[in-house]
Each structure stands twice: as C-alpha cells, then as structure tokens.
C-alpha cells in the first residue's frame, strides 16, 4: 500500500528512466550521424583548400616532406581500386595512444607534375565509448533536472489537483451512518471534484436515510407486534382457566407459552436495540453502581440458587459512574442472566467490581467462546433454546453508548466478561 503521491512520483521516475533508456540508442545514432557528417565536410573542405592553395605549387620532390608534416592529409600513390570522392570510415593504429581509432577518410585523385596521385584527407572520430559516456551523462543531467522540475510543478499543481481530493477523503472519513448530519465538503472549482463531492453527499444522505428508515422500521415493527403478542398471551391465560383441560392439552399450552415468551423477549430486545440505536436513552445521571449491584444481587442470587449455581459479588465501597440508569440495569441483567443461564450444575458466578472495571466470571460446560463474534447479533455459541441471541449484542451496544470497553476472555476455567468503566 502506497499513497497516491508516492505512487505517482515513483511512476513518473520509472517511466522517465524507461523512456530515456529507450531513446538513448536513437540519440546515439543521431548524434553520430550529425557528427560524421560534420567531419566529412571538414575533410572535404581540407582537400578543397589543399587543391586551391598548396597543390598548384607542390612539386614531386615535396611529397615526402608534405606527408611528414601533414599526417592527416597524405599524398599517396594512385591506386585503381580505391573509391574516390566519397567519405568512408577506416581504422588506423595510433602510435601515441597505442590503440586503433576510427577515422573518416576521403580520397581524391590529384595530379602532381602530370603524375596521378591520391590525396587522402582524414580526421579521427570520437571513440564509441566516449560518445556513449557523453550521451549518458547528458541524459543523467537532463533526468536530474526533469525530476527537480517535476517536483516544483507537482507542488504548484497539487494545490489545485490533489488538495481537493485529500479534503474530500478527510471529509468522507468524518461520516457516520448513525450521525445526525453529513459532513460538508469544501468548495472546489474543479468540475470532476465538484461532481465527486456532490455524488458522495448524495450517497451519504441516502445511506443515512435508509439506515434511519431501517431503524424506524425495526422499532415500528416491534411496536406493532406488541398488541398481537398481548392478544396471544391473554388468550393463553384464558385458555388455561378451562377446568376440562387434559394433561396433553396442558403440554401444548405450555409449549405455546414458551414460544410466546421467546417471541416477547426477542421483540423486546429488538425494540431495545432500536431504541439505543435511535439514541432514545440520552439522559445520563450519576449512577451508584454499588447500589445497583446490591439491588440486583438478591434476585439473581435466588435465580442462581434455583439453578444450583453459586452466585457471589465482591465490590469496592463506592463506585459512581455517569450513565443512563435504565441501560445500566439492562446491562447488568443481561450479563448476570447469561452467566447463570450458560452455567453448569454446582457452577460459579462471581461478580467483581474494582476501581476501574466490572468483571463477570462464570463457569460453564463449554470451553472458551473464542473470538469477539459473540458480541454480534444472533450469534449463539451453543444450541441453547433460552437466549434470544441479542443479550451480548445489547450489552455491547450499551457499552459503546457509554464509551466503555467490553471484552471477553476464557482463563482458569472461567468465562470472563470485563467492562472497563474508568481507565
């Protein structure tokens, strides 16, 4: 993963290197061609000069002397098989450098005292290696300045091109589906960004609205279910009064009661989740957690006893926390009832409240529950028919609402749910 800036700079550098590398042979041949052409003009010019100035006064006996002083403009014997008037390339051995060197050479026929001779005009070429080094260093310098230039240009244009983009990204990160409003984008005068921002705003609006509708739907649906549920419940209560009911009919009624209770519970929990999601529990007050624990202790102790589970509480002397009282009740009830429900005969539930956190320990038949998926809605780790599958999801939502941290671990044969209330 790289940032856009890093990526674009790297891409540019790589592509520049590739392009420069690819064009360098071309450059080599072009430079070489021009250079050769220049040299050819030069050697042709020298012959012309020679023919105009020296040749008319040159005599046969001067040839050796001339050749001695003009190594690059030699008068040689006439040969038939030499191509005339066209520059060619030829290799000569250079004694001083002790290496062979490429020369451009041109031969022309001349006459000295009516004897035919050839004049050979030559000039050394730059060596291939030197030429390559030259081109490479030129390209290197160019590359360096291109990069410098790019950076400058990039800085100038980024204000216009990429800053709006990063602004958009940052604004987008402020978006909350559960929020009351959507974040505002900074105005931009670039058409594409303006369009992007408009589309994003629209998308956020729609997402928020559909989330809102979904929450309302759940709340309304749960509300609507309550009256029919009340009818079912009251019908059952009346049916139970019939003195002629047989035992098997009673069994059916009992299973209907159980199903009805489950539906009621599920509906109630859905409604509760919807209400938390809808922020309907806004009021916060100072809650005496120790008192709350004492209030719930008696009831849960009795329930635990009837399930053959040992229930104990240990708390600090006082613990005040700013919270919604109803939600705290729900939280404690959910955690405690889970701890009892999923326990085993002769098992243990221990509640510990220290200066920072509330921990619920419980034994169970099952080993550790593993990952944090237990806090998701409708996740049940066993096939228990009792739970609604929402208890821990609600506990988690309540903790999120109060900005508390809830965690789970399994250690020393105890399932441990820890709520960090104060850091």
């Amino acid at each position: 993963m790289h940032s856009l800036k890093f990526r674009s700079v790297i891409n540019f550098i790589v592509s520049t290197v590739i392009v420069l590398t690819l064009v360098s042979p071309l450059l080599f041949y072009i430079i070489k061609a021009f250079y050769t052409d220049d040299l050819d003009h030069m050697i042709t010019y020298r012959i012309k000069q020679f023919e105009e100035n020296q040749l008319p006064v040159l005599s046969y006996i001067d040839i050796d002397t001339w050749n001695h002083y003009n190594p690059d403009l030699q008068i040689i014997e006439f040969k038939e098989d030499i191509k005339l008037n066209t520059p060619i390339q030829h290799i000569y051995f250079d004694k001083s450098l002790n290496e062979v060197i490429d020369y451009r050479v041109i031969y022309e026929s001349i006459k000295i005292e009516d004897e035919p001779y050839l004049i050979a005009s030559r000039i050394p070429m730059i060596s291939r290696a030197d030429l390559i080094v030259m081109i490479a260093s030129q390209l290197g310098v160019e590359f360096f300045f291109i990069i410098i230039g790019l950076m400058v240009v990039y800085r100038i244009f980024s204000r216009e091109i990429s800053n709006p983009f990063y602004n958009t990204l940052q604004t987008l990160s402020l978006f909350e589906v559960n929020g009351k409003s959507i974040p505002k984008f900074q105005a931009t005068n670039i058409i594409e960004y303006k369009y992007l921002n408009e589309k994003l705003s629209e998308l956020m609006h729609r997402t928020q609205r559909s989330y809102q509708r979904q929450k309302e739907f759940i709340e309304n649906a749960s509300h609507e279910l309550q009256t029919p549920l009340a009818v079912v419940q009251s019908q059952l209560d009346l049916l139970l009064q019939d003195p002629d009911l047989t035992e098997s009919q009673n069994k059916i009624i009992q299973s209907l009661y159980t199903a009805s209770a489950q539906t009621k519970r599920l509906n109630k929990n859905l409604l509760l989740l919807a209400k938390i999601d809808n922020n309907q529990y806004m009021t916060q007050e100072n809650v005496d957690l120790v008192q709350k624990l004492k209030d719930t202790y008696q009831l849960f102790k009795e329930i635990a006893n009837s399930e053959d589970v040992n229930f104990s509480i240990s708390t600090v002397d006082t613990f005040q926390v700013k919270a919604n009282s109803t939600l705290v009740d729900v939280l404690l009830n959910n955690l405690f009832s889970n701890a009892i429900r999923y326990n085993k005969p002769k098992g243990d539930v221990r509640i510990l409240l220290d200066e920072h956190s509330l921990i619920v320990y419980n034994t169970s038949e099952s080993p550790g529950l593993g990952d944090s998926s237990i806090f998701k809605r409708f996740i049940r780790k066993d096939n228990s028919k009792y739970g609604s599958g929402l208890g821990l999801a609600i506990a988690k939502e309540i903790c999120i609402f109060h900005k508390w941290d809830i965690g789970y671990q399994f250690a020393d044969n105890f399932h441990q749910f820890k709520i960090t209330l104060k850091s």
Binding site: V231, N250, Q280
Partner: protein
C-alpha cells in the same frame, strides 16, 4: 367493583373482560377515545384500564381529562409504548400504574388488586384469604396470629396467587412477575418451582399447603374456600 376497559383491540379487550369478570369484578368496555370519555362522564369506576393508542385520540389526553374532572378512579395505563419517558409522563399526570404490552392477565389481575386495595381500603391494608392475613403495607403475612416468615420473593408470589384466586396462573406469568421488568430473559421454571415449593412448605406448617394447587406443571392456582 366496576372496571372500565378502554382498549381498541377487541380481542385483547374481550380477554381482559372475561378474565376480570370471573374475578368478581364488574367490567365495561370502551373501544374508542370518545366512547371512553362518554362512559367516564356517565358512570363511576373503581378502576380504569387505559390504552394509550386509541384510534380517535391520545390516551394520555383522556387521562388528563379524567384528572381534571377530579374523578377518583384508579388508572392503569396499558401501552405498547415502552419508552421510559412515556412511563414517567404517564404516571406524573395521574396514572396509578403502568403495564407494557404484552402482559399476562394474572399480572393485570394483581396490579388491579393492589391498586384497588390501596385506593379503597382506607381503614385497613390487610387482606384475608383462607385464614391468612396479608398486610399489603407492611408486606407481611400472618396465620393464626403467627407470623409467616416469607422472603420478599415468596411474599410477592403469595400476593400474586391470592390476587388471582381460583385462577390458574401460568409459570411464565409467575416468572415474569417475580423477576421483574428487566430479568425476564429467564425461562427459568426451576426458579418458579423452587419458590412455589418453598412457599408451599411454609404454608404447610399451618396446614395451608393445599391452598396452592399444581395444574399439570403448566401453572398454579390459589384455592379460595
């Protein structure tokens, strides 16, 4: 004692009517806001069961009217609204109790029972059943002048049974009543069974154990002789 049921859901209203009428109350039904208003204007009721969501008006408005007219009926709000705010505002302007739908009929029975005792018996808060005297104020029970040592849960259970005397009360209704609004996550029949067993044992010391009759494990009934 007359009870007015203002509830637009006919089935539910009929069920309440039937359950309560058998319970020695005289019941009348109103299905709309205006019907309710009319009945309240014409007759006196000991207790009014008031649904908040009526087709032609807000139940809370009706409550206001009742209180403004200084009508001295006990009022229990029945509502599908469960939000805490409703509960508070409803009780603030003069309802005596609040029951969120869905509720069980025995629960309604015990609420009405308790409300009527509070409202009417200005002389005494003691109710008698099968020779057991229950003091609703002190929350104690006495048999033959001997105190029946009951836990809070057992006391609540006894009142629930007596208030719904000769009615079968389902285990679910008992569990809900005993564990309260919050802890209803419990399908704990062990819990109910344990408390019934303990209460029965305590009553049995005074030969009253047979007052509680078990109906095929589905429910329990308080036999009033």
């Amino acid at each position: 004692m007359k009870i007015l049921i203002i509830e637009d859901e006919k089935n539910l209203s009929d069920n309440m009517y039937q359950y309560l009428t058998n319970n020695k109350y005289l019941c009348e039904q109103a299905f709309t806001y205006h019907e309710g208003l009319e009945k309240i204007s014409l007759y006196d009721y000991s207790c009014i069961l008031l649904d908040l969501n009526l087709p032609d008006g807000d139940g809370l408005k009706l409550l206001e009217v009742i209180r403004n007219r200084q009508i001295d009926s006990g009022i229990i709000i029945l509502s599908a609204r469960t939000s805490l705010d409703d509960k508070i505002s409803g009780l603030m302007i003069g309802a005596d109790d609040y029951l969120a739908k869905p509720f069980s009929l025995p629960e309604l029975g015990v609420r009405i029972y308790a409300l009527l005792r509070r409202k009417i018996s200005n002389s005494s808060n003691v109710i008698h059943s099968n020779g057991i005297a229950i003091n609703l104020l002190a929350k104690t029970a006495v048999v033959d002048n001997k105190s029946l040592e009951l836990t809070k849960t057992e006391y609540n259970l006894l009142v629930l049974l007596v208030a719904n005397q000769n009615r079968v009360i389902s285990k679910n209704a008992i569990a809900e009543h005993l564990s309260g609004d919050m802890a209803d996550m419990f399908n704990s029949h062990n819990f109910v069974y344990t408390h019934i067993k303990n209460l029965k044992a305590k009553l049995a010391q005074y030969d009253k154990g047979e007052c509680i009759k078990t109906i095929y494990g589905t429910g329990y009934r308080w036999i009033e002789e």
